[in-house]
Each structure stands twice: as structure tokens, then as C-alpha cells.
């Protein structure tokens, strides 16, 4: 079983007739890390949902691992989905749930039913949940209600759920949109470290260009439901970024972690990451 992701000529038209993706072809090797950037409404969320087997493309093909999810039987599809971890921009977690339960829910796809039911009363693996939360500096909130957390804390609970799930594919849809620059950097770093440690394939859509440049060796730019560029980060020029966001002479959307402000030879943004080179 490989951990690759593959799209061939994929298009998606929503039920209301609105087109969200047009002729998207994209291929990720197992363990590869890619950031998807682009303005609002570019189709980043739809791309994540198609790869996460949540939306079925109206045209073209999608492969997750070796499997076409829409040709698989119900059981095979469920097993495939248990290997996919999706981080949602607004975490789909009921406020009444305790943080520990929300994180442990990540493994419902692999736990037997009795364990899932018992864990509602006595958390089955509180230590595991705490460990995942601690990587996002949230280890002290294990037994709080999710409704008592701030938006940024809840977003990190959503990330911790996927870290605890240990999926082969991590698909993140604007996973740090509610976090301050330092925590955003920490959280994306935790996702990258998880991908490195277990060889998980990581695709993250990001609104902050500087985070994408810092942590990802490959960038995909999207606009109007299409892929505009797809190349190694080192080969992405500032002009391409300005063109993507149509921000001639204005600032690019960024988190503020000071990557773009540094000197770059020949207008090329270098991949810069502490402890990487």
C-alpha cells in the first residue's frame, strides 16, 4: 500500500451549478509535503474534500493510496477513510464534548465498538490524548469542555485529533487560520514533524504564504478552481505570488513570521527552515 495521492483531470460542479474545480491534475508521492495557496474561493477547500473522499469529483479521477475510493466497496472505503485524517478550518467538534473525548475520536475508525463506548465513560487513552495535545501546547486542557475553549484552542484540538489518529494521509484545510503567528508556526511544524516521523503524506491549504514557504518543499498555487503553478518552493518567485493574489504593489497575505522580508537573490524566495539545511 503506497501513500500517494493522485488527481487526473478532476473537476467538480456543486449541486447548485457552481463550479469549484476545473481540470485539476496533481500527484503526490508517499510522504511528500505540499502546501496549496491561493486567494479565497480558489477551490482549496474543495480540493482537500475531494482528496479526503468527502466529495466525489464530477469529472476525472482521484486515487488515494492505490485505490479509487469511488470504485471500492463500502467496507474498503471505510478502511481507506480510517487512513485519512482531515483537519477542518472550523473544527467540527460539539461544544459539549470534553477535549480528551474529541481527541480520542480520531481513532474511532480503528477502535472496536466496545472500546469506543467504554471510552465515553472512562477515557480509553487519556495519556495518548494528552501527548498529542502537548505537542500543540494544549496539554493542560485535556479534561475541559470544548465549548470553554477559544477558537484558536479548538482549532488545535482539531489538529490534535488528527495527530492522535496517526493517518497515512494528513489533509489540512487552513489548519491555523485562527492562530496567532507563533502558535501557527508551532502547529504547522507539528504537522510536518508528524509527516516526517511516520512517512505520512501531508497536503495543507494555507492562507499565510510565509508559512507555506517556510515549511513546505513544494507549492501549488490555485485560483478560480484551477492550478496556476505547481513547483518546488525554491522555484516560486515573488512575482508569481503577487500574480496569484493579484496584489501588485501590496502586501501578500501572511502570518508574520518574517520569511518574505529577508533578502532573496534574483527575486526568488528560498526555502528557509531552521535545522533543515
Amino acid at each position: 500500500m503506497t501513500n500517494g495521492l493522485f488527481l487526473e483531470g478532476a473537476g467538480l460542479v456543486h449541486a447548485n451549478g457552481q463550479r469549484a474545480l476545473r481540470n485539476v491534475s496533481l500527484s503526490l508521492g508517499g510522504g511528500e509535503r505540499v502546501a496549496v495557496i491561493g486567494p479565497s474561493g480558489a477551490g482549496k477547500t474543495t480540493l482537500v474534500r475531494v482528496l479526503g473522499t468527502s466529495l466525489r469529483p464530477s469529472e476525472g479521477q482521484v486515487f488515494v493510496g492505490d485505490a479509487d475510493p469511488w470504485q471500492a466497496g463500502a467496507r474498503a472505503l471505510r478502511q481507506l477513510r480510517a487512513r485519512i485524517g482531515v483537519i477542518h478550518q472550523s473544527p467540527p467538534i460539539p461544544p459539549r464534548l470534553r477535549v480528551v473525548t474529541a481527541v480520542l475520536a480520531g481513532r474511532l475508525g480503528t477502535w472496536p465498538a466496545w472500546k469506543a463506548l467504554v471510552s465515553l465513560v472512562v477515557p480509553g487513552d487519556a495519556a495518548g490524548a494528552r501527548e498529542a495535545l502537548a505537542r500543540l501546547e494544549l496539554g493542560d486542557r485535556v479534561f475541559d469542555r470544548c465549548g470553554r475553549l477559544s477558537g484558536g484552542q479548538l482549532q488545535r484540538v482539531g489538529i490534535a485529533r488528527v495527530l492522535y489518529q496517526q493517518p497515512a494521509f494528513i489533509l489540512a484545510d487552513e489548519p491555523v487560520s485562527a492562530l496567532d503567528p507563533a502558535l501557527a508556526d508551532l502547529s504547522v511544524g507539528a504537522l510536518v514533524a508528524e509527516s516526517e516521523a511516520r512517512g505520512a503524506t501531508l497536503l495543507a491549504s494555507l492562507h499565510a504564504v510565509d508559512l507555506a514557504l517556510k515549511w513546505f518543499p513544494r507549492l501549488v498555487g490555485m485560483k478560480g478552481g484551477e492550478i496556476v503553478f505547481d513547483r518546488p518552493t525554491a522555484a516560486v518567485t515573488t512575482a508569481m505570488l503577487h500574480d496569484l493574489y493579484a496584489t501588485e504593489g501590496r502586501a501578500l497575505p501572511q502570518q508574520g513570521i518574517d520569511v518574505l522580508k529577508e533578502e532573496r537573490p534574483a527575486n526568488v524566495v528560498m526555502l528557509k527552515r531552521p535545522g533543515c539545511q
Binding site: G52, T53, S54, L55, R56, P69, W70, A72, G73, A74, L77, R78, Q79, L80, R81, A82, R83, I84, G85, V86, H88, P92, I93, P94, P95, R96, L97, T101, A105, G106, L108, G109, T110, W111, A113, A116, L117, L120, Q165, P167, G224, E226, A246
Partner: protein, 283 residues
Amino acid sequence: MSAGAGAIAAPPAPMRDPAARTRATALVAAAVVLWPLLWLAEFKPWQLFDSGNLQVMASFLAGFLPPSMAPDFLALLWKATLETLAIATAGIALASLLAVPLAVIATRALSVSRIGPGPGRLAGSALRTATRGVLTVLRAIPEVVWALIFVRALGLGPGAGVLALAVTYGGMLGKVYTEILESGDTRSARALLEAGSPRLGALFYALVPSTAQELASYTVYRWECAVRASVVMGFVGAGGLGQLMDQSMKMLNGGEASTILLTFLALVIVADAMSAVIRRVLT
């Protein structure tokens, strides 16, 4: 950005609220339908205040006063109240045993095949429709009819009442549970299903936590209805306060009837308080 480079021209923004016409039409249609219905139902409220009618009603109500407080009647009342509470509680417990599995099958919020849509979509949708059909049949037949059927099998007494409540209220609880589960935030359940969680996992880790208050509040409200329903069922010999009420009315003892009505009032107040406590615990 250069014009025509894959850009789609935005349609001109509408000047009028596009929803206004639909809403106005719906309002007029509702009035046109309701007016003849009121005539059909012979809804003539002014007749209430006709002097002759007022007198008839007043003398009828006067027969209910004062409430009877005879000690031997109160002893009977106490026993009947306990019996009614037992019928209602056992009935609701059995009804939820019936309703919960049916609601889990019938609710769209827990459908895996709807995601995509994926494999087994037609079979899933057929199963949901069939289950909804079962729920409809269960609740379409009034509990008093079920009671008449069960009395023939089990004989006179509370047993028939419990079974009748279980069947009808199973249908009602099942339908409303189904809809409550669909009306909350279903994204959380869907996210779990998309991560390979089985349906029961998504039910208990997502849907129940987000709808616990409504589920509990509706169940307690149905318990309250079951207490009242036992009046009708008592008329067919299913025991409890209903049977006592039946006897008092037949003997034209208005005082006893009004004491029984006061008991119902007290029980409804208790149900209200229970509901409030449960909702507070579940916030």
C-alpha cells in the same frame, strides 16, 4: 488581471430581494388554505359568550367544586397515581428501546452512503424510507386502539397500557429523534464518518453530545403526555388514574374528578421541573 483570462463575469447584483416574492406568495397561500378550514371546523368563538351557553358551562363547572378530599378516596388516588406513573415510565422506557435503533437507521445524519454519494446509496435510501414507514404506522394508530387490541391478549390491567404506549410512543419518539439528530450540527458526525468511524461512533461522539438537551427534553415531554394518555387508556380498562377518572365521571362525582385533574396538574409541574433539571445538567 487581464480581462478574459479565465475570469467569469459576475452577474449584475439584483436590486430587489429575490426571496421577497416567494415569501409573499407563501403568506397568501397559507391564508387562503386556513380560512375554509376554520369554517369547516365550525370555529365560532363568539358563541362561547352567548348568555345561555355561559350559564350551561358555569353550572357544569360548578359540579366540580369543591375538590373531594375524602380520606378513602385520597388513598385510592395515591394508589392510582403510582400505577399511572409506573405505566407511563415503563411505557416510555420500552418506547425508547424501540425508537432509538429505528431512529439510528432512519436518520440521514448517520448515512455513510450519502457521502460522495458512495456505494450502497440506493439500498441505504430505501432502508431509511422503509424505516420511516414503520415509524409512521406505529404512531398513526392511536394508543387507545393498541390498548383495545392488547387488552384482548393480556386481559384488563396496566400491562396492556404499557404495551400500547410502547408501540405508539415508540413511533413518535423514533420520528422526532430522527429529526432532532438531523437538525443539529451534522458536520461533526460527517467528519467522523469521513475518518472511517462506524455509525454508532458518530452517533455517540458527535450527534448525541450536540443534541442531548433536545433529546432529553422531548423524551420527558412524551413521558408527560404518557401520563395524560393513561386517562384515555383507563377508559378501556388499562388501570391507573384513567380508570379512577372513568368511575368518578360515571358516578357524576365532579369533586373527585377535579381532585384527579389537580393531580394531573401536579404531575405536569413535576415533569416540567424534571425537564428543567435535566436540561441544566446537560448544558
